[in-house]
């Protein structure tokens, strides 16, 4: 396990500040980082080193908490504590803020693009999740305001292939939403975590969802469709999501992020104990009750809390991480050979 996660390099992405989040563009050639210095930086490679290609500094008045690339890779959305979401249009190395989405009452905690590219979701400490539609003229319109959570909403993520949205909250739950007629509705609430749920990640198939929490566990949830073979009860035509696995005892502090590699299925976590961990599903385990093994545990990956981990979408094993120490680190993960 010692050599399964190897450091490729570090960059002082947000000096004298904290780096909150990272996002790879769909082509896997650029990494966007954002932080407490109110800036977004775009990183690319020049030979073997990572260099800063652009700095987006005029968009927000306060911390930029998350960034997300559109599926086409031409736009970047940024969510800020200043209660707005900026949409940036990419023109080679330049980014221009083309729209600012307003409406949330206070800090925006997350933004995510649906795979179709036509929908965007945002969430906030105001407890709501907003769904926005974007048309061919780059006009954004809020089509739904969802007030299902009872507390601060920390993260939103779209299903990889269905128009299904998931949100994670300070109220200790995960909620799932779909479109019904002309509006969006919450069709499931996943309970089980004992504290704030910080982040979510779907597996490559979209059948399973990983959630990570302040309760120091990762939970894996599985979708059961009506009429499923396992006999799991469903209400009407909605699927039921059940917790099929809990990873506990591995993390000694809050888990801030979880990332599910769409190429290899490996699960990475970012933890408040400064470590990065990788888990892999045991190939012989029962799909209804899977077991995961810890295949990498890198202590002191950063000198402070790790806030985000992100798998490169094109290069298997390439992982980026960022921290309260303001740095971004790049890693190569090799699944360790079995005994």
């Amino acid at each position: 396990m010692k050599d399964s996660l190897v450091l490729l390099g570090r960059v002082p992405a947000h000096p004298d500040s904290r780096c909150w989040f990272l996002a790879w563009n769909p082509a896997g050639t650029l990494l966007a980082s954002c932080g407490g210095d109110r800036r977004i930086r775009i990183w690319g490679t020049e030979g073997d080193t990572w260099v800063c290609k652009s700095v987006l500094s005029e968009g927000h008045q306060r911390t930029v908490r998350k960034v997300a690339w559109s599926p086409c890779g031409n736009y970047l959305a940024s969510a800020s504590f200043d209660a707005t979401t900026c949409i940036w249009k990419k023109n080679q190395d330049d980014f221009e803020c083309v729209t600012t989405l307003e409406g949330h009452e206070n800090e925006v905690k997350s933004v995510a693009w649906a795979p179709s590219g036509n929908l965007l979701a945002t969430c906030s400490r105001d407890k709501s999740v907003w769904v926005w539609e974007v048309d061919e003229e780059d006009e954004y319109e809020c089509v739904s305001v969802l007030n299902s959570h009872t507390q601060d909403v920390k993260h939103v993520v779209w299903h990889p292939s269905q128009e299904l949205l998931a949100s994670a909250s300070y109220d200790d739950t995960v909620k799932l939403y779909r479109e019904e007629e002309d509006d969006w509705v919450c069709f499931a609430t996943l309970e089980g975590h004992e504290s704030t749920v910080w982040s979510l990640a779907f597996d490559p198939s979209g059948q399973r969802l990983a959630s990570c929490s302040d309760d120091r566990t990762v939970r894996i949830w599985r979708q059961y469709l009506p009429g499923n073979e396992q006999g799991v009860a469903c209400s009407g035509s909605d699927p039921t999501w059940k917790c099929i696995c809990t990873l506990s005892g591995f993390h000694s502090r809050t888990i801030y992020d979880v990332a599910w590699c769409q190429l290899t299925g490996a699960l990475a976590t970012a933890c408040g104990d400064d470590a990065i961990r990788v888990f892999e599903e045991d190939p012989s385990s029962d799909p209804q009750q899977p077991t995961f093994s810890l295949t990498a545990h890198l202590r002191q990956a950063h000198s402070q809390d790790v806030n985000c981990v992100a798998w490169n979408p094109k290069e298997p094993g390439l992982l980026a991480s960022c921290s309260d120490d303001g740095e971004v680190a790049f890693w190569k993960y090799h699944r360790p050979e079995g005994p």
Partner: protein, 166 residues
């Protein structure tokens, strides 16, 4: 470090109030003046209440003009400050109950009470926090604390607390 305190301080009486308990360390050097004048070593409840009342009044008025224009009475924090000094245990208990525990001000109020009393009670440098789960959870949420402190107005007020002690 957070420790559970319920039974010792008569948790039933205080119910769900947030609680900051200050413990006498017993290490404070005795000055010549104190030896001569028999100045009481321990602080009493009314004195602590006065310190807090003035401090919280200032704090609340300072932050009164931001996102929620709340009045002192609405916040109800000051009214519910009922300080208890326990000589046998050499502890001071400070219950406080913000009526709007989920807003960023509750975090700030909790932090500022802690800072203020740590400065004003040097002989009570060890302390236990037994806050209500609601406030404790906010104080432990670094994203919430970062966002609250980022509001420069609130940061100024916290800095004032700190500089008043130096």
């Amino acid at each position: 470090m957070v420790q559970h305190c319920g039974g010792r301080m008569g948790g039933g009486l205080l119910g769900n109030a947030n609680l900051l308990i200050y413990e006498h360390t017993g290490e404070r050097p005795v000055t010549a003046g104190e030896e001569d004048q028999q100045v009481p070593d321990s602080i009493d409840a009314p004195e602590i209440f006065d310190i807090l009342f003035l401090h919280l009044t200032h704090l609340i008025h300072s932050i009164n003009d931001m996102e929620h224009p709340l009045m002192l009475e609405e916040l109800n924090v000051v009214e519910q400050v009922r300080v208890q000094v326990s000589d046998p245990d050499s502890t001071v208990a400070v219950p406080f109950t913000p009526t709007i525990p989920h807003c960023s001000m509750a975090t700030l109020i909790g932090l500022s009470i802690k800072v203020k009393l740590l400065c004003c009670l040097p002989q009570y440098s060890a302390f236990h926090i037994c806050p209500s789960h609601l406030v404790n959870k906010q104080l432990a949420d670094k994203e919430r604390v970062a966002a609250a402190l980022e509001n420069t107005h609130l940061l100024e007020v916290v800095n004032q607390c700190l500089s008043a002690c130096s």
